[in-house]
């Protein structure tokens, strides 16, 4: 790579950004854990209301479970980019750090493209759901649709962090 990337960007700004990204990441993690834990409640209510007379059979349990589930998937997909948890297929022989970083940058560019699609068309998706509400609980559908553009934005943020890391690896001198 011909461009000489600065080895150390302005230290304070980098620190603040890192801290922000990591804090955001931890919030997402807590939300994900919360969504998994809460998911069990509406489904259990549904069963207990069918077999016992203790609680009325709420009509919204199934819908609430589905909507939480959608959020769980989208949150996990957001976090998965920072964790490198999305499955990929490695057909390459073991690469040295620099070629490896280059390949990671190439694949990140494509993921970034998909993130931008999620933001651009995701906003249209939200506009489309502007005056829709859910069938049973009459919740605005945008509470759900917003997860798509938000995923796009989150990916851009996490990918940016990864780009910086890989560019730094590229800029490092290969061991003699």
């Amino acid at each position: 790579m011909p461009v000489a990337w600065p080895q150390q960007p302005a230290p304070t700004r980098k620190w603040v950004m890192r801290k922000f990204i990591h804090g955001y990441y931890r919030v997402l993690n807590w939300l994900l854990v919360g969504s998994v834990a809460i998911l069990i409640i509406p489904v259990s209510l549904q069963i207990f209301s069918r077999f016992t007379q203790l609680i009325p059979s709420y009509i919204w349990t199934e819908e609430m479970a589905r909507f939480l589930f959608i959020w769980m998937i989208m949150l996990g997909a957001m976090i998965g980019i920072r964790d490198g948890a999305h499955f990929d297929v490695d057909l390459w022989p073991e690469l040295k750090p620099r070629p490896n970083a280059l390949l990671r940058i190439v694949s990140s560019v494509f993921v970034l493209m998909f993130a931008l699609v999620f933001i651009w068309y995701g906003i249209k998706f939200v506009q489309f759901g502007w005056d829709q509400s859910s069938e049973l609980a009459e919740m605005p559908m945008n509470y759900i649709f917003i997860a798509w553009p938000l995923s796009g934005l989150t990916w851009v943020l996490f990918l940016g962090e990864r780009f910086l890391h890989d560019l730094r690896t590229l800029a490092e001198k290969p061991p003699a």
Binding site: I47, F67, F69, W92
Partner: protein
């Protein structure tokens, strides 16, 4: 087609598969490669727009059936965190530890037990890799054998019910999940037996060690401790088959049961372990299911251009019967399984092959199980075999190092697969016996 750009089916297929494989080669995650491959077609074809990606992903995530996936994962994670695995290891050791290659036999038997609780092979490979690989090497087993048997036995988790693959298959191709659960039991146990025989042969040839035989009292004691955990599959499968609960509800019951068991009965669960179990569940379920969405968009485009029909146009004229078609289906899934994760493979290839199976009157449950078993084998075939990758990562060896042993272990398993194709009764016997109304 009206004006502008209109793709012919052949061109659409070329673009879809070309972009997908190209991106995969560049190590773009599969879920994203599938979504990106849809874009050129959706952008340039007049009558389509990328909004289809949103419709299709939303529709696939907005599914009460798939909700069973995180619940099954959570059940397994809670049991792991709650110390249940240790009890099952002890039971397995008391049962088969005195056979030649004792520890490796324990490895296989634990996989069978675990398969009845968990529906995910990757979870099995990860947890057992940590328990067994090092321990086996210390006792004098070869490293490549130890890695291979851990990976290969983990495959059972998606064949013995409950199974995430059965949920996805039942959900996307509308087959009774209860029938699939019952259908998986016999082939799964057969595969387990075949693996134990393979371990036996290895142990005899290479003089692997065995443990002293446990006394009858020890076996009974271990069994008594483990029985509550072993009730989990009974609850899940029974609840589903007898129609008390839906698949998702029975999975939720299993979660509650596992939580009660770990917290009140075995009492080893810390709050940290609970958090980790929830986080692991969310992450693994989410990345697997996210892929369902983009794979569905991809599959939607294949159907839009009627590509499956074009691909299979020649095959229909070969005049294969059920058996011939079965072998063809198994071959396709085995090939695809080398390169693709099982869940997107079901959504894309399963829908492509379904008309073929229907044309020869193959039972949908038979078709499903042949597909699921073949795809399960794909979990240990290179270059993309998740279980093999996980086991190798734990042992810090490269995949090439263990391939020979994996191939040897797979051969008799392929024999079992062939048997299920030739004799559909192996698969259909239990569903017909317990609840014939679930079939057809």
């Amino acid at each position: 087609m009206t004006g502008g750009v209109a793709f012919s089916p052949a061109l659409a297929a070329l673009v879809l598969f070309g972009v997908f494989f190209g991106l995969m080669f560049l190590r773009v995650p599969v879920a994203f490669a599938l979504g990106l491959a849809c874009l050129p077609v959706m952008l340039f074809e007049d009558r389509l727009s990328p909004m289809i990606i949103f419709n299709e992903t939303f529709k696939s995530y907005n599914s009460f059936i798939l909700l069973a996936v995180p619940f099954f994962l959570l059940t397994a994670n809670l049991m792991n965190a709650g110390g249940i695995t240790d009890r099952l290891v002890r039971l397995s050791r008391d049962l088969v530890g005195h056979f030649p290659g004792g520890l490796a036999q324990v490895n296989v038997v634990l996989s069978i037990f675990f398969a009845g609780i968990s529906g995910s092979s990757t979870a099995d490979a990860a947890s057992q890799g940590k328990i067994f690989i090092n321990a086996q090497v210390k006792e004098g087993y070869d490293l490549s054998f130890s890695v291979a048997i851990t990976a290969v036995s983990a495959v059972l988790a998606v064949i013995i019910p409950p199974s995430i693959l059965m949920i996805v298959w039942g959900g996307t191709l509308t087959v009774s999940i209860g029938a699939l659960f019952l259908a998986g039991i016999i082939p799964g146990l057969l595969l387990g037996l075949v693996q134990m025989a393979t371990v036996h042969a290895y142990a005899k040839l290479r003089n692997y060690p065995k443990y002293a035989r446990s006394t009858f009292r020890e076996v009974v004691a271990a069994l008594a401790v483990a029985v509550p955990a072993l009730m989990t599959p009974v609850i899940i499968i029974g609840g589903k088959v007898f129609g008390w609960f839906t698949a998702t509800e029975s999975a939720a019951i299993a979660v509650l049961y596992a939580a009660v068991l770990s917290i009140f009965f075995y009492r080893e669960m810390s709050s940290r372990a609970l958090y980790d179990a929830l986080a692991d569940t969310g992450k693994l379920a989410a990345v697997a299911l996210f892929c369902v969405g983009t794979a569905s968009a991809f599959g939607w485009l294949l159907a839009y251009y009627q590509i499956p029909k074009a691909l299979l146009a020649g095959v229909g004229s070969w005049g294969m019967g059920i058996t011939g078609t079965g072998f063809f289906i198994a071959f396709c899934f085995l090939m695809v399984g080398c390169f693709l994760d099982a869940i997107p493979a079901i959504i894309i290839v399963g829908t492509i092959l379904e008309p073929l199976a229907r044309a020869v009157n193959m039972d949908p449950v038979h078709f499903a199980m042949v597909g699921i078993i073949s795809l399960a084998f794909g979990l240990v075939t290179p270059p993309y075999g998740l279980c093999l990758m996980i086991s190798c990562a734990i042992a810090k060896v490269r995949m090439v190092y263990v391939l020979k042993d994996v191939a040897i272990m797979l051969l008799p398993m392929l024999g079992v697969l062939a048997a299920t194709i030739v004799w559909p009764e192996i698969i259909l016997f239990l569903p017909q016996l317990v609840s014939p109304e679930l079939l057809k």
